[in-house]
Every structure is written in C-alpha cells, then in structure tokens.
C-alpha cells in the first residue's frame, strides 16, 4: 500500500488506529515527489522539515488530523514563498496565513509545499509559469491544464493526498479534467478569499482537488465558512458535505444545456459525457434538455471583467515593498516600468493591457459595464434552469489535454478551451469536475471530465451526484502510467 495514493478516509482510519503516523504519509509523498517531480514539475517549492515538524504536532482526533494538503502557489502560507508562478514575486515570503490555511490547520491538516500554476492564475495550460510548465502525468508531453496544473498533476500522480487550487474561469475544474481527478469550484462566497492572491476578485474562489469525491467533500468542509476578513464571504451554514454523499440520484432532475455540445468539440469528449448522462439516467435520474442562451457571450464578457479586475489587482506588484525590483532604474517611474517589464510574463502583460484598456475613460460603459450586464443575464439563465433542475451536466472542457506548446501562440484558441467552465464563475455558482472516461485509440489514454453544476451554496447536491457517479463507474480507479 502506498500511503501517497490512499483516500483520506483510509488514511484517517489508519492514523487513528495508530497503524501509521503523519510522518509516514509525508515520507511516502516525499519519496514520490523526489522520484517524479523532475518529470512533472508539479511542486515549485517544499519544506519537508517544517512539514514533518508540523506533522508531529498534529491532533489526530480532528477531521483532517495529520493529513497533508498541498497548496497552490497563489495561497498565502506564513513563512513560505508565495510567488504565484511569477518572477515578480521571487524572494517574497508570505507574512500571514490565508484563512483557508488557518481553517485547514484547525482541522488538523498540514499545508505542504507550493504547487506550480500559470502566472497569477492566468492560463489554461500551466505553460505561463516562471518555473516552466507542469506536465500531465498521463502524457508528459501534454499540458496538465491550468491554472491549477500543479495541483491537479500532483494529486493525480500521487504526489499529494489532496491539494488546494483556485478557480477564476475553470482553473480547478479544467486541470482536474485533464489530469483525471476531482476538482470542485465552490459557490462564490462559500470559501474565504483572504490570502488568495487576487486575479479577478469577483470570480476567484479556492477549492479542493482530490482523487475521490469523498475527499473533495472532506476538504471542502474543512476550508469553508464565513470569514469576517473577507466581505464577499457569505454567512451561511456549512453542511456536513461528506455525510450527505450517500443519497444517490434517484428522483433528481438534471439539465443538459444544448449550448454545451458545440461543433468542433472532441468526439471522444462528447461520447464520454453523453455516456455519463445516460448512466445517470439509468441510475434513476431524470434528464431534461435545457437552454442557457447567454453562454455564447461568456468568454467575451469574461475576458473584459477578469482582465479589468486583474489590471487593478496586479498594480501592487511594483518592486517597492516586496518581490522582484529592477536594479538599473533611474527614478521611481522607471523602476515601476522595468520591474513590471522584467517581472511579468507575456500573458499577464496581455491581460493587464486588456484590462487597463477596458476601464479607460470613455470605454468603461461600452466594455466593463456592458460585460457586467451580460453577466447578470448569464446568472438569470442559471436561475431559470435551476427552477426545474437539481443540477446541470456538461463536459468540463471541449477537448482532453492538449500538447504543450500547441496553443501557446494562439491565445484565442486557449481562451475558447474555457468555454464550459467560465459561465459558472460568472454566475457565482458551484461546479465539480470528475473523470467520466478516457480517450481511446492510438497514443496515451487521456482522461475526460464531466462537469456537474449546482445551485448557489448547494455543493452538497453536486457532491452527492458526483459521488454516486464515481461509485458506479470504474474511472476513479485508473492511475496514470508513471
């Protein structure tokens, strides 16, 4: 038995039975990281000694007592580097714990390592990382997805028991689909954003990446809850997600939006997702076709709102107080210019320019304000759908993992890959991706993701559906050929 590959419930039982201690789990992970990280580049930093010391103090009676959880390099952990995959934050060590880190620690978990990502969470392939791309464990010539590529690859390859990622337009769900693991984007406001380095504040949300739905439910339960330090976190009760998993799907009604099966999508993806829908119907769910008519505007409006917020959020990276500072500047303005020129990568610069433009005087109404109106329409689409449906079933991404470099010079094609995930962020609702099959044919078998979209603050239902699907299909038992 490799402890790095076991689900949380098993580890918890063995920890409590004193068969193993938290150090054993960390040692198993460390062994795999040392063996595989060179090929995968999932971790960009780790401090095993600190983690071991924390493991020794772990209270095993707590829900996650002694369980290590790996952290995307965008979430602040006191005393650890927090670089967001960017050169501009090289050398920056976080001064404080994000609220989710505090919550994890209070649940007994041990935050471990820093996981690779697209710079400032901008990207869908993990190629926009100062540390170089993370690789897909199913085929290391392919992208793990992004921006939480490191989180998905680490979990799928057994380099972590569970991981935290962040999702602004699909950054948890798409890499989970590409790497064949479970990724959940909670409802906006379910999880505190305090300590998550902001990309687009009105869209960002932290969530778990795990190998099983139950693990996702356990980690979500640990990180959720109202936080007075985040005004956008919502003061609503946190249900026992893990306890609500066993309900099955009989009597539930699922909507399948016709706009989510588009020309040009990979036939293998469509086949697998249709089969998954049929499977759920067979298991007793009612399937209805629905329409989310404003889906076609999702990407356009997202690429106004997200860059607009990002252009402002990333203004603080100027070399004055922390991180990289250009050495040869002549004055403060020159220092800003050179620091940011040197510190930011191409995609980040592209989005800052885009965002600066759409917020400029004279353009605000035409772009930002209009995009916000479209966003309202998209939210109404979902509200209408949820009047009759308990959840919505879609593919997570239109294709399986693509080759590294394949879309690097074609940002539009890269952006279009997020077509199925973005609307969930725009509407502020929750979504989960889990494996629903593999591509066949020649070459590597690549995982395919099923996305289940839920009502606001109804993570319990999508977890329950996902769990039932997982338990009645074989996909989650597949491991990447490493």
């Amino acid at each position: 038995m490799n402890l790095a590959l076991e689900p949380i419930s098993t580890l918890r039982a063995r920890l409590r039975g004193r068969e193993i201690c938290p150090r054993d789990i960390l040692a198993a992970i460390r062994e795999r990281v040392e063996e595989l990280n060179l090929a995968l580049n999932a971790y960009v930093h780790h401090d095993w000694d600190a983690a071991m010391a924390e493991a020794d103090r772990a209270d095993l009676s707590l829900p996650l007592g002694g369980i290590p959880v790996a952290i995307k390099d965008v979430i602040s952990v006191r005393g650890q580097p927090c670089t967001c995959g960017s050169r501009i934050l090289q050398g920056h060590v976080a001064l404080y714990d994000a609220t989710v880190i505090g919550n994890l620690r209070r649940s007994g978990a041990i935050p471990v390592g820093r996981l690779n990502m697209d710079e400032f969470a901008m990207g869908s392939s993990n190629e926009n990382s100062f540390y170089g791309p993370c690789r897909n464990p199913w085929d290391t010539s392919r992208a793990p997805g992004g921006s939480s590529g490191g989180s998905a690859a680490a979990v799928a390859a057994g380099l972590a028991v569970a991981a935290l990622g962040s999702d602004t337009g699909g950054s948890i769900r798409q890499p989970a689909a590409f790497c064949g693991c479970v990724g959940l984007k909670p409802t906006y406001g379910r999880v505190s954003r305090y300590g998550l380095v902001a990309f687009a504040s009105s869209l960002d949300q932290i969530g778990p990446l795990t190998r099983t739905v139950e693990d996702a439910a356990i980690v979500l339960g640990a990180i959720s809850g109202h936080d007075p330090a985040d005004c956008t976190s919502v003061d609503t009760g946190v249900p026992d997600f893990a306890a609500s998993l066993g309900g099955g799907v009989r009597g539930l009604r699922f909507g399948v939006p016709k706009e989510y099966f588009i020309p040009g999508m990979d036939p293998a993806v469509e086949r697998a997702v249709r089969a998954a829908i049929d499977h759920l119907a067979h298991e007793g769910a009612e399937i209805v076709e629905i329409s989310l008519p404003h889906t076609e505007h999702a990407i356009a409006s997202y690429y106004i709102i997200a860059p607009a917020e990002a252009s402002s959020n990333l203004a603080r990276f100027d070399g004055v107080r922390y991180g990289h500072r250009a050495k040869d500047a002549t004055d403060v303005i020159d220092c800003y210019a050179k620091t940011r020129q040197q510190g930011f990568g191409k995609e980040v610069k592209r989005r800052i320019l885009l965002g600066t433009y759409v917020l400029s005087s004279g353009y605000y109404d035409a772009y930002y304000l209009r995009a916000q109106k479209v966003r309202t329409l998209m939210r109404r689409d979902f509200e209408r759908a949820f009047e009759t449906c308990d959840a919505i079933l879609t593919p997570t991404a239109p294709s399986p993992a693509f080759k590294l470099g394949e879309k690097l010079d074609d940002p539009i094609s890269m952006y279009l890959g997020d077509v199925f995930t973005i609307a969930v962020n725009m509407a502020g609702i929750c979504g989960i991706s889990l494996p629903c099959g593999f591509t066949g044919g020649a070459g590597a078998r690549l995982p395919i993701g099923l996305q289940i979209i839920g009502k606001p603050f109804d993570e319990a239902t999508i977890l329950r559906v996902a769990h039932h699907y997982e338990q009645t299909t074989p996909w989650h038992r597949e491991r990447p050929p490493l």
């Binding site: 001064l95 954003r193 300590g195 917020e309 005087s361």
Partner: protein
C-alpha cells in the same frame, strides 16, 4: 496699463481632506496614531501585501454620515466603494479605495459666520453677509502613506496609509481668500466639536486643495482654473489664494493666458509654482471595488449617525445672543469651545444675568485658566459657583474689587463664594444707618472736600466715598455710600 485688481473676481472651490477620528484604520485593524516610529502601525493589509482584503471600518462610515447630516447633506440609501487606479509609491496597492459616483453624502452647505473670517476682515460686508457655501459631496476613502526624500534615497512611512479620510468638496461658491478662510475655520470647528476629526492641519489631519480661477467682473463663464496644493494652515490657504489670484490677474492683464495646471504653494517664499500640467492628468480608471459590498445606509448606519448630532457652533452662538443677550462676539467665542459653551450653559441656567456670567467667564475665568495652564474641563470653579459669585455682585453683596479676591480664592480652593465672603468677613455693608454714621465721620474729618463738592466739584464726592470705604475697611457698598454722602451734603 496694468490691470485693476477690482476689474476681476476670483472663483474658488475647495477639496478638503479630513482624517476621520477612529481607533483603527479604514480597512484593517491597525491603530491610527500620529507620531509613532515609521511603519510601526502597519500590517499586510495596509501594506498592500499579496492576497489581503479590505474590511470597511463601520465607525468611519457612521462618522462620515454624521458629518453629512450636520452639513445638511442628502444621504443616499445605497453607496459603494470604488477603486481609483494610479501608480504612486505612497499607495500600497497602487489604487486607492475611494468613492466615485455613489458617495456617502451629497449636497449640503456651510454657513460662514462673521467670526470665522480672519480678524482683519470681520468688519467687512461679506463677513456680515452669512453666506452659505454649498457642498457638492462628501465621500470616504483611505489615506496614503507619507514619503520622505533623503539625499539619494526615499523612505515611505505607511503609518498613515489606510487612515480613514473624508473628502469634502465644495461648489465654486467661494469668492475671496477670506471666504475660503472662513469656510475652513467654520468647517474645522464643526468637525472638532462633532468629534468627527481632530482636524489638525499641522498634523496633516486636515488638508485642503484649492481650485481657483479669475474672470472679468460681470462675466458669467468661469476662467481657466489652477489647483493649488500643499498648504498646511488655514492662513496659508488664504495667503496662497491671494497670491494665486493676483498672479492670474497679472497674467490676464498682460494679455496672457492661464494654463490649467496643478500648482504647489511654498509657504516660506509665499509663492505658488507649477507642479504638473493638465496633460499629465491621470485617467483613474474608476470601477466598483469587487472586494467590498455596497453600503446600505439604512442598515442602522444612518440611525446611529443621527444619535450623534450636535448643535452647530453657529446655531449655538445665535441662541446665546438671542436667549442670553450676550454680544455676538462673546457668543461666538463661547460657542467655539464646546467645554466652555457647556460650562456657560450650566452657569447660566436659572441665572438672572447670563451676560454678566459670560463677561466673568470670558475675562477673569479664562485668564485665570490661561495663567495656571488649565483648560475649562478641569476648572476648579464649578459653573454654579461662578453663577453665585455673579449674583453676589449683582445683588450688591460684594463690590467688584472684593469679587476679584473672592474669585481668586474660589479658583485656588474651589470653595463656594458665599462661604469665602463669610469667612473673610467681606460682606458688603448696606446698612444705611451704619454707612450714614461713617459718612458723617468722613465729612467732619474733611470739611475742605465737602465744601468743594457743594461748590460744584463732582470729584470731591469720590474722595469722600473713598474715605467711607476706608473707614468701613472696604465693606461698605460704594454706591450706597456715595448716595448717602451726597444726600448729607445737600441737606446741609
């Protein structure tokens, strides 16, 4: 021909930044205090570290609404915070959380009372006019840090960064440097009395930017304006405006044009100079701050602000002149210090001569406080005791000279005036029989002056009265003594 100053009239609008008095900063829990070691009062939030989020300070919002209510502003039901984006080392996030199109307060105004004007302008007609300067808006934002420039480097102190800051914007209603002075004086007094701000300009708690233009008298359209910054006192604002108005008139009179720009006031040399031109003006790219929820003022904020309303100093002064018949000047002095005003009101309650109390308070009591380094709040003389003292004088029980002695002891010991009078045996003798005996004694002892009086030398009466006072050891009621002497002489 050089232009006549009187051919032009200035048009002035002010933007006043005022630190709101709160224990903690606008969006984090750091203390707000002046004079701490650089960067001692900072945290990841006010340093703009990656991942931090703002949490608005409710108290600052309530105090801003309170200010708006005091200045008769309209308070909208929904307000919001926006981000004002520009790069500056003093700004930790390179954006400032401010309010753009939905500020906490709109409209309102400040009435200029005569005694808010500079002393040398209090007798001018415009000081008497009680002009109302209209406000455009008041919004709430966060203050920036403070840069200090050394020989080859610069230092930034973030202690001030994130302090709640109200921006009070006037309409272009101000017509002279003196009115600007009066506006700031009246506003400052109100802010301090309401407890909203300490408004100390030297500490940067109150800062003022002036927009000023001139136009030929009679012309409706505004001239090109300049913005003046960097004044650190209210009189500095007056001087800067006077200089700038004169400069603009000179430029226009010589056939030149005013360039729209921001100018810096140098108090030392008494001049303004170009700081940046309009071309360098920023596009602030305002947008609603996605980290903050809209403010609903009806959510208890407005109600709480309403419980903190005070009587405006100008209204209080008017009440004193009306109800207590004190002079306008005395009323404005009393109303300018809330502790003094409250002292006065307690002393005057039920008193027959509030005006006399005001006199005693503003003269004897104030100078005693000043020379002993005390403030009215720790005055050893209770307001009721002052009232009793004044009524002893008014009732002819003691004379004003004795009153000074009594007051001195009251101030030193806090004893009641009646007790002091009794213990010192100071009670004025108003017994006509006793005084008449002494008067006869005085007349008999000084036949010369007695005859002088009868010959028409009025001052002789004063001499004789003085003799009676001497004989009575100062206890005689001088007015009574004088009357009796006169009667005795005339009846001879």
């Amino acid at each position: 021909m050089s232009p006549m100053k009187t051919d032009y009239e200035p048009v002035i609008g002010l933007e006043v930044h005022c630190q709101v008095r709160t224990r903690s900063k606008m969006f984090c829990g750091c203390r707000t205090q002046f004079g701490e070691a650089p960067n001692a009062l900072t945290c990841p939030v006010c340093l703009g570290h990656p991942g931090v989020l703002p949490v608005p300070n409710r108290e600052a919002i309530v105090r801003t609404i309170q200010t708006g209510l005091l200045l008769s502003c309209d308070i909208d039901e929904f307000c919001k915070f926006d981000r004002k984006n520009y790069f500056y080392p003093d700004m930790p996030k390179n954006y400032q959380i401010s309010q753009y199109d939905m500020p906490l307060c709109r409209g309102g105004g400040v009435t200029l009372d005569r005694f808010s004007f500079p002393k040398d302008a209090q007798d001018s007609p415009c000081a008497a006019a009680r002009k109302r300067v209209r406000l455009t808006r008041i919004h709430l934002e966060e203050d920036v840090a403070k840069s200090t420039h050394f020989e080859t480097t610069s230092g930034i102190d973030f202690n001030r960064a994130g302090t709640p800051l109200m921006e009070i914007v006037t309409e272009a209603d101000i017509a002279s440097p003196e009115e600007a002075f009066a506006f700031l004086t009246a506003l400052r007094l109100m802010l301090v009395q309401a407890g909203v701000s300490d408004a100390d300009m030297e500490k940067g708690q109150l800062r003022c930017d002036c927009n000023v233009s001139v136009r030929p008298r009679g012309q409706r359209a505004f001239g090109t304006k300049c913005e003046i910054k960097n004044m650190n006192s209210i009189s500095g604002v007056r001087r800067a405006l006077a200089y700038e108005i004169e400069r603009q008139i000179e430029v226009l009179g010589a056939g030149g044009r005013i360039t729209q720009e921001t100018r810096r006031w140098d108090d030392g040399i008494g001049q303004t100079s170009t700081m940046r031109s309009k071309e360098e003006a920023h596009d602030y790219r305002y947008f609603p701050d996605p980290d903050l929820m809209p403010i609903k003022t009806s959510d208890g904020l407005l109600d709480e602000a309403r419980t903190r309303l005070i009587e405006l100093p100008i209204d209080r002064a008017d009440r004193y002149t009306r109800a207590f018949e004190v002079t306008e000047y005395d009323a404005s002095v009393l109303a300018s210090d809330l502790d003094m005003a409250l002292y006065f009101e307690r002393a005057s309650s039920g008193a027959s001569n509030p005006k006399g109390i005001a006199n005693y308070l503003l003269n004897d009591l104030l100078s005693a406080l000043t020379s002993s380094g005390k403030v009215i709040a720790d005055c050893p003389v209770r307001p009721e005791a002052l009232r009793d003292l004044v009524s002893l004088i008014d009732g002819g029980k003691i004379n004003s000279k004795q009153a000074k002695e009594v007051f001195k002891e009251m101030f030193e010991t806090g004893a009641a005036p009646a007790d002091i009078v009794k213990s010192r045996g100071l009670e004025q003798v108003s017994d006509t029989g006793a005084i008449e005996a002494l008067a006869r004694q005085a007349i008999d002892a000084h036949p010369g002056p007695a005859q002088d009086f009868l010959d028409g030398k009025a001052s002789a009466l004063n001499f004789l009265t003085g003799q009676v006072m001497k004989l009575s050891k100062g206890k005689a009621n001088p007015k009574l003594a004088s009357d009796i002497i006169e009667r005795l002489l005339r009846s001879r």
